[in-house]
Symmetry: C2
Subunit: 293 residues, 2 copies
């Protein structure tokens, strides 16, 4: 196991424990609604967003316990977005992470409500982070609200469904919202969990890293969707094409797309390599570029 | 026009102006998604939640400009809940506030996303309230997340759809979540917008007022649903019964229900009458009891 793989596993384990606590009966009840929230959030996923939050907090001198509630909030927002994305009126996907999607397992109304409750409670979890200052909570909540809203992820979901992309630039703009916004929020929340406000240029470097990583991640997703293996992905291969979703392969050959993903990764790495302790974040970018699922 | 009616009108106007700003192109974009958000939020509703936020802030010595962002956030959360409630997988209502419901006007996927974006941006609006301290933002966001989550409004929506009520107590518990939680959050956010943390007993009195008002409000809703006139309500009369929703009329005669609503109102008023300046809040409780739409 590489140092990155060990760090990813550890971060996922600790995030999982925090999520278990956040979604326990005490915080979400013991109804089928709460069960649906746990089903969609626990025990799956790469926890990339949580890892970004934890590592950026560490990079700027913060304690892990200060980052964990923010990391859990990021994963709750991510889980909510997947539940709603899978609904019949959206992508109508029956499978997610190798098991029935939330509405297949709990019914459509419960899935809708589970997503809603996860989004609301993500903000409660962030605001209940007692290891950071009130000012840090304010910054984190504002960023998370922006990243998840109409000028962030939800706006990206809208564009993905309803607008056509004339060229690669327009597709890039769409991806910056749809997947990029939350990756940026996850990175910034890590920064906010570290002591003291960061200088503007550090925030810019973090955003440049997040943007490069986010676009590379999406390109690799698009490539895997045509090349990948259904069992490894946990969803039907070709489902993006099936639903008419725009991918970089509408504008680039697979080789060109692979090269672009490499360039984005290199740019992401260049942005943060000067910071001492950024090795794992650099490795993450390389790892996501070469992943096969 | 009574002093209360004038105050309600003024509060609604200023809340509307704040909402216009929060949902402007700069904050939500100029897409059909943003249009759906504005359609569902602007130009309608009694703005009772915003009024509670504004008046409780004033009651405890706060400035209106400190309460307005919180009031707008409350109305955004309320608007989101109505959009999702009306969806085909939920109540499947075609009309809302006398016009086509959001999914009828914009399609199901856009309505789902508009609700999602409103919820996320409500927290951004609350966190961007520059007229209150960071500590006040933290308290407000935590309360709003709790009030909207699985142990609040969303939990109430789940119970309303999926569980049966054996008696009036169980129905009361359901209503405390479904409509009561957000009314309580609206009242508390007003308190948090006022300077300095309030003593525990004041918070308890505010919650007692909110709980009494909330249950009375719901009982009157149930009574209007059988007695009311479709044109005044802006939705089909009897729609609650049609969908099998539990109402107090499952357990009480209309006269008993009316008496219970009066008792709840009296209890709400008793909780806050001792506070100088509470006249309008007391009038509001009486007004909601006697409303005919």
């Amino acid at each position: 196991m590489t140092p990155l793989e060990a760090a990813l596993r550890d971060a996922a384990l600790r995030t999982e424990a925090t999520l278990e606590e956040c979604l326990s009966a005490a915080h979400s009840g013991d109804t089928p609604l709460a069960e649906a929230m746990r089903y969609a959030t626990l025990g799956g996923g790469k926890r990339i967003r949580a890892f970004l939050t934890l590592r950026f907090c560490a990079l700027f001198g913060g304690e892990e316990e200060a980052a964990l509630p923010f990391a859990a909030a990021m994963e709750m927002v991510h889980a909510y977005s997947l539940i709603h994305d899978d609904l019949p009126c959206m992508d109508n996907d029956d499978m997610r992470r190798g098991k029935p999607s939330c509405h297949k397992a709990f019914g459509e109304a419960n899935a809708l409500l589970a997503g809603d409750a996860l989004l609301a409670q993500a903000f409660e979890v962030a605001a209940s982070n007692t290891h950071v200052s009130d000012a840090a909570v304010r910054r984190a909540v504002a960023e998370l609200g922006r990243g998840a809203g109409a000028l962030g992820m939800t706006g990206g979901q809208y564009f993905d469904r309803s607008e056509t992309c004339a060229d690669l630039d327009e597709l890039h703009s769409l991806q910056r919202l749809k997947t990029g916004a939350l990756i940026r929020s996850a990175s910034l929340l890590g920064c906010f969990a570290a002591p003291g406000p960061l200088p503007e240029n550090a925030i810019r470097d973090v955003c440049r890293y997040a943007d490069g990583l986010g676009f590379a991640f999406q390109i690799v997703d698009d490539l895997l969707d045509v090349r990948g293996d259904a069992a490894q992905l946990g969803k039907p291969v070709g489902s993006d094409v099936k639903n008419g979703t725009k991918t970089v392969l509408s504008f680039l050959t697979p080789d060109q797309a692979q090269r672009l993903a490499k360039e984005c990764t290199a740019d992401a790495v260049a942005a943060i390599r000067p910071y001492p302790g950024s090795e794992l974040l650099c490795s993450l970018a390389e790892y996501l570029l070469s992943r096969d699922h």
